[in-house]
């Protein structure tokens, strides 16, 4: 971590969840700010500079999507959602409102930290204007539109590159199907989800060691894709 004690704001109404998040983030060198309601959380976010927000989806006072929208109105701070299972639509809605990623309860601290770090890195990369994204053996030079696998340059079709570029910009975090369709084909093709599935297959054949068991370009069923060099349990 390049930042010095990044500050994380945890918004969850359950004290026991906040408690382990506080300890877990603290152990990893974060400064933790806590809030038990969305209202208190948004106030805390305006009162002090936070580097990351961890937001529970089911808060008693304000709907999670609304909180994300309101924060996004004035801030690009990374937001990670804590969601319950069986709410793919909610997850997609929140991601498309501007949340950066989600973890499903019950989750392990390691899982949350991986997502949080990926989001922080993206934020830092944007701030520093860093052009190269490295994911495992894959290296994507966004400035020169060049992709290297294990040091060797590989050739991608324009659409394949566009897809990889969007995923690389969010490296480590999930990108929804709709966002990818829009970025690669434009808003007219939002209903052509099968374009995306087929393009992903082609791209996997070029970047994955075993395209049938991908280790870099992973699918989040019902939600989107994630470009990540780590396994879930890391």
């Amino acid at each position: 971590m390049t930042e010095i004690r990044p500050a994380v704001l945890v918004i969850d109404d359950e004290p026991q969840i906040r408690r382990f998040l506080r300890t877990g983030f603290d152990l990893e060198g974060f400064t933790v700010v806590e809030a038990g309601t969305a209202d208190a959380g948004m106030r805390a976010a305006t009162l002090r500079q936070v580097d990351l927000i961890v937001l529970d989806l089911n808060l008693p006072d304000i709907d999670g999507a609304q909180v994300v929208e309101r924060v996004r109105a004035w801030s690009t701070v990374p937001i990670i959602i804590l969601s319950v299972r069986a709410s793919d639509e909610d997850k997609v809605r929140l991601l498309e409102c501007g949340a950066d990623d989600y973890v499903v309860k019950p989750f392990s601290m390691a899982e949350l930290l991986a997502r949080a770090r990926a989001a922080l890195r993206r934020q830092a990369r944007g701030a520093r204007g860093e052009p190269v994204v490295n994911i495992g053996p894959l290296s994507i030079d966004l400035a020169n539109r060049a992709v290297f696998l294990g040091g060797k340059r590989i050739v991608l079709s324009p659409k394949e590159y566009q897809l990889l570029q969007v995923l690389a910009q969010h490296a480590g975090n999930v990108v929804t199907h709709n966002i990818l369709l829009k970025e690669v084909w434009g808003t007219k093709h939002l209903h052509n989800a099968h374009y995306l599935r087929i393009l992903v297959r082609k791209l996997r054949r070029k970047i994955e060691e075993d395209p049938k068991r991908p280790s870099l370009l992973k699918s989040e069923l019902g939600v989107g894709y994630r470009l990540s060099g780590m396994t879930e349990s890391d």
Binding site: E14, L21, L27, F107, A110, Y195, K212, L221, G222
Partner: protein, 355 residues
């Protein structure tokens, strides 16, 4: 029969007799003012009430008491159990038939009502209990994961072993709770698939990733055919169903045996098979394995389980228009679970790569 059930039945019999006495008084009073031809029919009331509320024995008691009371009190010779008028004998025979039939119907209705009530109660209980359990479990899993990372625990093999047990067991508990939630959802709300095009490879990998931690020391062979067509289905439901099949394969086969996960196109459908070399199935088990709450007597004592998993699996897959079948050469011969999904018409070969 439990003691309280005996007490209830005895109370039912007593109340039935009381009702017959009551009806007799009513008829006696009524006869002072009206002329009633078929007073006997009133005696059906206690029979029906007893059948609905207390069951067979009180109903039979009410019937016999009713006949006796009618014969004794109202049919000449009065105050004698004998009946002289042939018409009235016909009445009595008819009464007996009607009483028996209504009694039976009442008992059936009562049983159906009780079954429905206990089902509802069980479902409601399961639903609320699992919600109550979910949130503390999230705290347990999370806290254990923080402990696992803390330097003090990581240095100590014994302690980190214990923390691993907490995590593993609470995650298993979570799986069981999710199953209960799924089951209540299936029976109460039904399943509403969210259809979309999906790569079957992603479903296989996603389902396995969910169970990866439980399969770390297992040899798992993947045999996914090249160029499988996309399928139009609900990926989340199928992933969850497939995860259950993988979990069962891991659970019911010895740790040193391999598990094979294969996927291929098969007669217009995608067939995904999970094969293990474990305990296998008897013919009876093959027939009943998908029945809700069914647990094979061979494993009920030594392997934990709710008997819900495969029932949920089949319900989820059926909602997506697919099928799940179990096959086995016999006990200890391994099991193959075959999940088949309709492909639906393929989207046009236009792949949007026209740049």
């Amino acid at each position: 029969m439990s003691r309280s059930a005996v007490m209830r039945e005895a109370a039912g019999i007593a109340l039935s007799i009381l009702m017959v006495v009551g009806v007799s008084c009513l008829i006696y009073l009524a006869l002072l003012f009206f002329r009633m031809e078929h007073v006997m029919l009133l005696y059906l009331v206690p029979v029906l009430v007893a059948a609905l509320r207390w069951g067979t024995l009180p109903a039979v008691t009410a019937a016999i008491a009713g006949i006796a009371a009618a014969a004794f009190l109202f049919y000449p010779p009065i105050y004698d159990l004998r009946v002289s008028n042939p018409d009235q004998i016909v009445d009595l025979v008819l009464f007996v038939i009607v009483a028996v039939v209504t009694g039976q119907l009442g008992v059936i209705a009562r049983k159906a009502k009780m079954r429905a009530e206990s089902e509802n109660l069980r479902e409601a209980l399961i639903g609320s209990v699992s919600h109550e359990l979910s949130s503390p479990l999230a705290s347990i899993v999370g806290s254990a994961s923080v402990l696992a990372q803390s330097p003090a625990i990581r240095q100590d093999n014994q302690l980190s072993g214990l923390v691993a047990v907490i995590r593993k067991e609470s995650e298993r508990l979570n799986g069981d709770i999710q199953n209960l939630l799924d089951a209540t959802k299936i029976t109460h709300e039904g399943i509403r698939p969210k259809w979309q095009w999906v790569d079957p490879e992603d479903i296989v990998n996603g389902a396995f990733a969910r169970k990866r931690e439980r399969a770390v020391e297992r040899h798992v062979v993947f045999a996914v055919a090249d160029d499988l067509p996309l399928v139009y289905t609900d990926p989340t439901l199928v992933e969850s169903a497939l995860g259950q099949l993988i979990e069962n394969a891991l659970k019911y086969s010895p740790p040193h045996t391999p598990i094979t996960i294969s996927a291929e196109q098969d007669d217009g459908r995608i067939a995904i098979r999970i094969r293990d070399e474990g305990v296998g199935l008897t013919r009876d088990e093959t027939d009943r394995i998908f029945v809700r709450f069914y647990r094979s007597p061979r494993h009920a004592g030594n392997v934990t389980g709710s008997g819900l998993g495969l029932w949920i699996t089949r319900s989820l897959i059926a909602a997506c228009g697919g099928t799940v079948e179990a096959s086995s050469a016999g006990p200890q011969q391994g099991t193959t679970m075959t999940l088949k999904l309709p492909i639906k018409s393929q989207p046009g070969r236009d792949e949007g790569e026209d740049d």
